[in-house]
Symmetry: C2
Subunit: 368 residues, 2 copies
């Protein structure tokens, strides 16, 4: 019986999916591994050509002296903040209320490092220059997440970033970039990675978001910073004997996709336009500034799920595999554009959105 | 010129190597990946059949309620000790002076968890019942490493283990097993994994030592313990979006090798016998109790290296890729037996050891 299937199950069986690059199954690793030279030696506890060359390449790409490969961004970022706190002798940092460290890491920063966090800005907007000017001086480091993922991937004006960077340098406050999605914002800013990173003392980027690797992260900064980060990496249990399965896939997908982020950005704007033509739906931001945005609907979670499920079965297009409840009468989900979007025939996509518009209309008139 | 080559370089070019399973190159992952079903879904933040089934399998093998896959033993063990310390409200544990946490983890236990360590026993012997009876009661957890790697892989008598376990239970002290090499000791004790683990409240095993995977570890204990360990895993930055490259290889090699540890143990005893027939050389322990032992030579590091290098070039057999200096007149290295040993023709091995005996004799008479 179709009506017992979940949205996730139906989504997986659709012919086309709107978001992402591909399935997260073992084919990905098989395919990448089949393309590499098996005689290459694995890395050993952070040493060996495989890891060192990749770290060097990423340091150059980010315009930093040095870079270290980490199994996760959670580990890399806690460590970055710890190093800057130790340097200043102050265990206090500032970041956005919806920062990854604040809401997704079980308070690791506080529990493992005893670092206090000052929350800047309101939950529903990005950190602006005024927030920074208004904060106490006694913080060791300010973390900016670009784009601010939990509010649909919003960005401050580039001039604001430059002014924040100047202010922090004047005040002796370190500036750290949560650049999990750094490549995703370069087309909007019309900057290179090293231009953006030059505003920051330390930078983290992720390999499994826009780049589409399996896992892993890079933390970059000056030599002294990255040297210390390796000591903390060992303390955290992240100095694995071998990280090469992640490094090999990170490098492969970085090379494969680094030039495609303008395309993802353009597609995100196009797709947000289709959503915003549907009644009862709006995207956040209204015009995306990266490859991502959030879809907000004036419908309860269950009703939106039911509509998307039947629509996916009817059209073969997967809109999303989940819907999140916002409140009793509204719901949302996140969209990040990758390789998949380009594979959907335009006319089929347009038709699916017409039907979405209709179905929501029918639902709304039923409810009235 | 041959004389500019290092021992490591010559070792890599030998036809046969005495220790280990195989090269740590990318072939290993390629071969395992080529044997798995690519349609299997990757794990997502600790969920999904791939990781859950493996954790369940390992919990059953170890005779524990529950098990969690970790990227590293460093992470798993700090977390185990932290949980037991929090349970008792005492931030103090006891372990051997050459415990991995004491000498290989940059003091992560102290720096991240503020846990104090009481060192039991002398550096050159294992922890015995008397050491445990003599320790203060105000510790939360005692960690035993079986076998004690840094002293050649020695073991206490099994009756001692049983008595230590009874004592800790009486006193309300948790007992944790650093079982990085648990499978390696089962043939000597003539016990199953779950029989040994029944003496302990929590157990860690490694997948890249005797089992020969790429990296990764299992931490097992009761439901409440492993539930808490997942929270700490996220805090440490170890809850990667996907750990499957390590899980798939861990499971493959576990199944491939779990029945071969008696063979490795027998080979280790045979090989130690060959070493102990050479003048100026002795193994520690004299008779191995696992697949590993240390080789000690009454020769300075440089002289032993020179002898082993020329011997490897002459015979095509790699004895070791490194030598460690003990003091001015003695040196050592570690040997862990895996699949490779069985591939060496017996007569060639015997001849190589005759030559080793001769060369050391020549060196010694030169020195006199």
């Amino acid at each position: 019986m179709n009506d017992t299937k979940t949205l996730r199950e139906v989504f997986k069986q659709t012919t086309y999916q709107i978001a992402g690059h591909s399935k997260r199954d073992l084919h990905q690793l098989q395919q990448v591994l089949s393309r590499v030279d098996g005689n290459v030696e694995g890395d050993m506890y952070g040493t060996g050509e495989l890891i060192e060359n990749f770290q060097q390449k990423m340091a150059e790409y980010l315009g930093k002296e040095s870079a270290v490969f980490f199994p996760s961004g959670t580990m890399a970022q806690q460590i970055a903040l710890r190093i800057w706190c130790d340097e200043k002798g102050i265990k206090k940092v500032a970041y956005h209320p919806l920062c990854h460290l604040e809401i997704h890491e079980e308070d690791g920063l506080k529990e493992l490092h005893q670092i206090e966090a000052v929350l800047l800005a309101d939950k529903d907007r990005v950190i602006e220059l005024d927030d920074v000017l208004g904060m106490d001086d006694d913080i060791a480091c300010l973390l900016l997440e670009l784009p601010q993922r939990e509010i649909g991937g919003q960005l401050p004006a580039y001039e604001d970033l430059e002014a924040i960077s100047r202010y922090c340098r004047e005040k002796g406050i370190r500036l750290h970039l949560d650049g999990a999605r750094l490549l995703e914002i370069l087309p909007f800013y019309q900057k290179s990675a090293d231009e953006v990173c030059a505003l920051f003392d330390s930078v983290y980027i992720s390999f499994y978001k826009g780049i589409g690797g399996i896992a892993g992260a890079i933390l970059a900064g000056n030599e002294e910073f990255t040297k210390q980060s390796k000591v903390w990496k060992r303390r955290h249990g992240g100095d694995l004997i071998s990280l090469y399965p992640y490094i090999v896939t990170a490098e492969y997908h970085f090379e494969q996709r680094k030039h495609k982020f303008s395309q993802y950005y353009e597609h995100a704007k196009e797709l947000a336009g289709l959503y915003n033509q549907c009644q009862g739906i709006s995207t956040r931001p209204a015009v995306p500034v990266s490859n991502m945005f959030h879809v907000h609907a004036d419908l309860p979670k269950e009703e939106l799920e039911r509509i998307l499920l039947s629509l996916s079965e009817e059209t073969g297009i997967g809109f999303t595999h989940y819907v999140r409840q916002e409140d009793e009468s509204s719901s949302s989900y996140e969209v990040s554009i990758g390789d998949r979007y380009a594979m959907i025939p335009k006319e089929e996509l347009a038709l699916a959105f017409e039907k979405l518009h209709q179905k929501i209309g029918e639902q709304k008139s039923k409810a009235e």
